[in-house]
């Protein structure tokens, strides 16, 4: 089952912290919802630094990132 992290509307660094927590749980894929490009970049950078695959698509007013191994 896809794990969904809703990080919309949260200040730095919470989107990254929540995504990081989900990654630590180890169940993939993980979908992360964010509402700013800044959060999108931050989550993307964090996940890539861990060697994970990340894709994103526009979603409503923000973006949906999908993190896979």
């Amino acid at each position: 089952m896809t794990k969904i992290v809703d990080a919309r509307g949260l200040s730095c660094p919470q989107p990254v912290m929540l995504a990081n927590d989900a990654i630590r749980e180890g169940e993939f894929p993980i979908e992360v919802l964010v509402d700013t490009v800044t959060s999108r970049e931050n989550v993307l950078r964090m996940a890539k630094s861990k060697g994970l695959q990340v894709e994103f698509v526009p979603d409503g007013d923000g973006f949906k990132l999908t993190i896979t191994k």
């Binding site: 949260l10 200040s11 730095c12 912290m17 929540l18 990081n20 509402d35 490009v37």
Partner: protein
């Protein structure tokens, strides 16, 4: 093209470029008139704006600083071009206001924001090392709160016009700067005739510098507090490479311009009462971390429509009024006839810093809403 630029600014070179540009511009602004080791200081410049508006009456620090106006509007321009302008707000605004007030009280105990702490160090002011140590401690405490679940809740998308309030306020300040109206006899707008407030680079130069930095920083998300926080929290050195570039480039610029004067006492617009330099920056660092970014970053976020960041900025400006009206702001070291008088805080200032630490700790401890 826009996508390629976005990718560049999100890269390490993007953040290093931003820091390096600040490192070039700040010493130049000092050369062209800004106070010593204060080419740019978000806290000091907001304090000067508070003074110009008459929110405090300390005559030597009153001026509408175009750099601050440029920071906000440069970020607005960048956000509009790259389609990132988004009106949002509603994440515990009154808490953010209070954090802004205490962030300023802490900053004025040290006499500078994290930007200026780096610029002071780059100019040879060794007291800045104590301030930066305080900043790291403050951010570290903030990270402990973040790890234990602290957050101020979600912001919401709001009316488009709401996001324009801070940018338009800045346009209004610029008009006040240009036309210099006098609203009553002996009343505002005030412009210092002596002291740091009277030292200023030409208006258009300062505005242009602010616009350029605002633009670059909005794109690269430059943040002097996020830099420290990310290292502590996640061993992530992305943002701090920008701050490192600022420090190194400003140091080289100061050497070239003959503005490097190493020493611990009697440094320009600084004091050497180490304990209050330290604790002031612990307070400021904690408040910035709880609010999600350094005072510069709050200006850039305000420029892209973030009303919560805008509230923090207004809190800092009001905080400057409080700090000066109630004698909480530090006095700089002074040298008269070769005799050094060490500056520092009044008893009121010391109490205010301690009170601020207690209030911020209570905010960190009590505002832990489950958001999952």
């Amino acid at each position: 093209m826009l996508n390629r630029l976005t990718r560049f600014f999100a890269s390490r070179w993007g953040i290093i470029l931003t820091g390096a540009v600040v490192g070039v511009i700040a010493p130049l602004l000092q050369k062209y008139g800004n106070p010593k080791n204060m080419g740019i200081c978000v806290a000091c410049f907001e304090r000067d704006i508070a003074g110009a508006l008459g929110l405090h009456r300390t005559a030597i620090v009153q001026y509408i600083r175009p750099e601050i106006i440029g920071f906000v509007l440069g970020a607005t321009i960048a956000a509009l071009i790259f389609r990132e302008f988004k009106s949002r707000g509603g994440s515990a605004p009154i808490v953010r206001f209070l954090l802004g007030v205490f962030a300023m009280i802490g900053a004025l105990a040290f006499l500078g924001c994290p930007w200026r702490a780096n610029l002071r160090l780059a100019g040879g002011d060794l007291t800045a090392l104590v301030g930066l140590a305080g900043l790291v401690i403050g951010v570290f405490i903030g990270v402990l709160f973040l790890k234990s679940g602290y957050n101020l809740g979600r912001s919401q998308k709001t009316h488009a016009a709401a996001g324009w309030i801070l940018p338009l306020l800045m346009v209004g300040l610029f008009l006040l700067l240009v036309f210099r109206p006098v609203f009553s006899e002996g009343g505002p707008i005030f412009f210092s005739e002596s002291g740091p407030g009277a030292l200023a680079a030409p208006i258009l130069l300062a505005l242009g510098a602010g616009l350029l930095i605002g633009f670059l920083a909005q794109r690269s998300r430059f943040c002097t507090v996020g830099a420290v926080r990310d290292v502590i929290l996640m061993r992530d050195t992305h943002l701090i490479s920008g701050v490192g570039a600022l420090l190194v480039v400003a140091f080289i610029m100061n050497l070239i311009l003959g503005q490097f004067n190493p020493g611990y006492t009697g440094q320009p617009v600084a004091h050497s009462a180490w304990l209050w330099n330290l604790l002031g920056m612990v307070l400021a660092g904690l408040a910035y971390t709880l609010a999600g970014g350094c005072p510069g970053r709050q200006l850039f976020l305000s420029g892209e429509g973030d009303g919560d960041a805008g509230i923090f900025v207004l809190g800092m400006i009001v905080g400057a009024g409080i700090a000066h009206n109630f004698s909480l702001a530090a006095k700089a070291d002074s040298v008269t006839d070769g005799v050094l008088t060490v500056g520092g805080l009044s008893q009121f200032g010391m109490v205010a810093v301690i009170l601020g630490l207690v209030v911020c700790a209570l905010i960190g401890l009590t505002m832990r809403k489950k958001i999952a």
